[in-house]
Structure formats: C-alpha cells, structure tokens
C-alpha cells in the first residue's frame, strides 16, 4: 500500500483522507515537515492559500516540500494547493513553493457568490466530470512542460507536469474518484522509476 500524506495545516484535510482511504491506500495528516520523508506522495488541499502559506513558513515546510518534489515524489494540489505550487502569481504577490511552470490568478471567478458547480471534459477521462469551484484560481499561462488536462470557458483549470498534478476545483467535495486514481497511478509510476535507478 502507498502512504499518501495530506498537508494538514489548514483546509479540507479530512475530505482528501477519506478519498485516499476509499482508494485502499494509507492516508497521513501531515503536521510536521519531519513526516515528509516517509511518504510516497503528498496532497496540498484546498483552504486559504495565504493562511496555509503562513503556516508553511512558521513550521519550515518550504524547503522540505521542495526537496520532496526534487526527488520526483508526486504532489497533488487542489485549489489553494494549486496556488501554492505555482511559479508565478499574476496579482504580483510573491509566489510560494515555485514548483510548477504555471502562472496563476487567485479568486479568478470572483467572490463566494460566484462560486459554482459544473461538468467538465477532462483529457483521459470518459464522459462528464463534476467540478466544484470555490473562490477558485485559474492557470493563466503554462510552459511546454505542462500538460493541460481540462479547461472551463477557455481557461485552464487542471494540469499535469511530470509528478505534479493540480486542479482549480475540488474533486474531494464530490464522489468523483478518478482524480485520486490518476494520482495513485502517478505515484506507482514514480515508485517504478525510483526502483529502476
């Protein structure tokens, strides 16, 4: 079984843990950076990105998460997690973990009253995929290293770059488990790669 951590500083942690466990894997709520090395993969959940960033700084998570990524261990960021992984934020504020070649606009659809549910077409998934957008960010720019997985209204809302997976929306608020399955597949591939080397 794979050991998948959920960064448990703030946000929708239990929802991800439930999905990891439903997929038959071991879930860990990660509160300390010292817990990272024992994990196969990490999920950075939705929450308030500014609050999570403060807590990442207080508890010195930044370098250990960057190291985790340098070892090609998979990371999945939803909503605030996507904001935290970006190389650049278009509102001019300082980017956080700078791991993924994406530019991100926070609260791109407006305030809470503009939050919405919809159905998306996703590359590699058949049929409609439910998506819940809550004060959601969008990806405004990607480099050639990034694979766009889904768009909404011509704006990028899901993407993958090697071992990194991000969504603007919240698969953990729905019964949709294909994102978790895709992530687990990425984790298994990363495992195989590391045993070959």
């Amino acid at each position: 079984m794979l050991k998948i951590g959920v960064l448990a500083l703030q946000g929708a942690v239990s929802e991800h843990i439930k999905q990891i466990e439903s997929a038959g894997q071991v879930a860990v709520a990660v509160k300390k950076a010292s817990e990272l090395p024992s994990l196969d993969a990490l999920i950075i959940p939705g929450g308030e990105s500014t609050a999570i960033r403060k807590l990442i700084d207080y508890y010195e998570f930044k370098a250990p998460i960057q190291q985790f990524s340098a070892e090609k261990k998979p990371i999945f960021g939803t909503c605030a997690g996507l904001v935290l992984l970006a190389n650049e934020l278009v509102d001019g504020s300082e980017a956080h973990l700078r791991l993924m070649d994406i530019s991100v606009k926070r609260n791109a659809f407006g305030r809470q009253k503009d939050s919405f549910e919809t159905m998306l077409q996703v590359k590699g998934f058949t049929g409609n995929v439910p998506a819940v957008f809550i004060r959601a960010p969008i990806i405004t720019e990607v480099t050639e290293h990034v694979e766009v997985l889904a768009t909404y209204d011509n704006q990028i809302v899901a993407a993958k770059q090697g071992h990194l997976l991000v969504t603007s929306f919240h698969p953990e608020l729905t019964e949709e488990n294909r994102w978790m399955k895709l992530f687990i597949k990425m984790v298994k591939q990363a495992h195989q790669m590391s045993t070959i080397h």
Partner: protein, 295 residues
C-alpha cells in the same frame, strides 16, 4: 456547460475550506490586514466587536456597509458580516454587496423573535450559532451552511462555548446509538427536523462544519475547542481587545493548527501580554446573555 451557483455543495464547501482555521472579528481595514498577515482564514467585518456592543448597549444592527466594503477591499481572504436574526433585508443587502458569508448572529439585536431567515433561498452561504443539537438541526433545516457554538460573546470566558460544544457532541453520540424507532420522539424532544437527525444518526456527524465561538481569548482556549471537536474557531473580541493584537493573532492561529502540541502552545502563551478582560457569566442577567437569542 451549465454553471450552478449557490448550490448546497458550493455553500457548504466554502466552509469546509475554512476548517482548521481562525476567523477574526475586525472593525476596519487596518485590523483586517493584521488578521490576514497573521494567517486568519477569513475576517468578520463589524462596526463594533461584541465586548463593545455589550458596553454600548442599545440596538446593535448590521455594520455600516462602508466598513464592510473597506474590509473587502483591504484583504484577499473571505469577508463575513453579521445580519440580525430574522432580518431578511440586512442579509440581502450584504449578499448584494458580495460578502462571502453571512453570520445570522445573536450578537446583534434580533429583528424577529420568532423566525430565522430562510437561508436556503440565498446564493450566499450563512453561518449560525447553536447551543445544542436541536438548534443546530433547525438552522441546518433553514439552510445554514456552517455552524458555530454560541458561547457567550464578548466575555472572554470560554465556559459557555465549552458547554455548547460538549452538548452538541454528546447529543450526536446519543442519537448515533439510538434505535431507529426512538428517533422520531427524540426529534420531537429536541425540536429538530427528523430528516436531518436521521442523516446525522447515519453519518455520526453534523452534515456541515461546526466552529467554536463566543469567549475564546487565548491560544490555549482555541486549542481546547479544537480538542473538543471544533472544526475551527471564531475569535471576536479576543484579538483586538488584547494588549498585543498581532502577537495574539499569530499565536491563536498556530495553536489552532497544532492544538495537540502542548510544548508549542506553552511557548506561544509566553509573554503574550494581557488577554482581554473577561466577564463572569453568572454575573450577567438573562437579558444580557446573547446566547438566549435565537429560536
């Protein structure tokens, strides 16, 4: 593809994103920025914090929209604001302004002493206070997307918040163990919608997020409420009525995340300066107790 706004998932989901966080009362843009910088997950924009509302007396109403707007412009985190219990128009005004969450709050003077707002009719989500499972279930029935214990606002005294959180949790445990045929009578006794109790019995938990509020004044208070099963905390007067608001705000945020790390909470509690001056609840008359408001 069609786009659905204001659905139950979207409104409840917003509160789920706030879990493990601290929501702070602020009365101006400057305080809102202090709260955001300390790692607050949202701010509650008010004209006066509860302890000042208590001191001022008279009728407490929705804040001046100018203050709410000023706060909304100052920060990128969600902004909440309070409407009086049953005051449909105050709530509609706040919704039209684009406030992210409305607190139908007993801290303000109720506009209706019989009915609450039918919150399911709104696009904006609502948070409401509760003291027991019956009250919690009634608010869920009306469409609240988030709950908080009422505690006793503006007192800096945690005792009522503890009482309410323990009561809700104990009542959930009780119905979880009940036979199905006992549930209808329990619904009658609690004054709770049957269907909602059935849902809670089945899942063993409330269907929406439940924060603690009403009396949190120190990092240890915040951690205590998390220990008792709160999903997060509201701090009203506790921050900006303390001697060192910035330090208090930072410390309460950290204690909420790491509520089981007692060494850390010890360190966070050192040389914080004076907490807000507290009130003994037993000295408050029934009319002075805000928690009695709500039906």
């Amino acid at each position: 593809m069609s786009q659905l706004v204001g659905t139950e998932t979207v409104k409840r989901g917003m509160a789920q994103m706030q879990k493990g966080g601290v929501i702070m009362d602020v009365v101006n843009a400057e305080q809102a920025k202090v709260a955001e910088a300390a790692g607050a997950v949202a701010v509650m924009a008010l004209e006066r914090v509860p302890s000042d509302i208590r001191a001022a007396g008279g009728v407490a109403r929705m804040a001046d929209p100018r203050i709410v707007e000023e706060v909304m412009q100052a920060v990128s985190i969600p902004v909440m604001a309070k409407a009086r219990i049953g005051h449909i128009v105050e709530a509609r005004v706040l919704e039209a302004m684009g406030v992210d969450y409305i607190d139908e709050s007993e801290v303000l003077t109720p506009a209706d002493e019989e009915y609450h707002i039918l919150k399911s009719e709104f696009t904006v989500p609502f948070v409401c206070g509760c003291r027991d499972l019956g009250e919690a279930a009634r608010r869920i029935g009306e469409g609240a997307s988030m709950l908080r214990t009422k505690g006793e606002p503006g007192t800096g005294n945690i005792v009522e918040a503890v009482r309410h959180m323990r009561k809700v949790q104990a009542q959930i445990r009780k119905i979880t163990l009940m036979n199905d045929d006992e549930l209808m009578t329990e619904a009658k006794l609690l004054g709770a919608p049957y269907e909602i109790l059935r849902e809670i019995k089945k899942s063993g938990k409330l269907p929406i997020v439940n924060f603690a509020a009403g009396g949190i004044a120190t990092p240890a208070d915040a951690a205590l409420m998390m220990e008792l099963g709160s999903d997060g905390v509201f701090v009203g007067s506790g921050i900006f009525k303390s001697e060192n608001p910035e330090k208090f705000a930072h410390s309460i945020v950290q204690a909420t995340t790491h509520y089981k790390d007692y060494d850390l909470i010890g360190k966070l509690s050192q040389e914080l300066g004076a907490a807000m001056k507290g009130l003994d609840i037993s000295k408050l008359s029934l009319e002075e107790r805000m928690q009695e408001r709500g039906w």
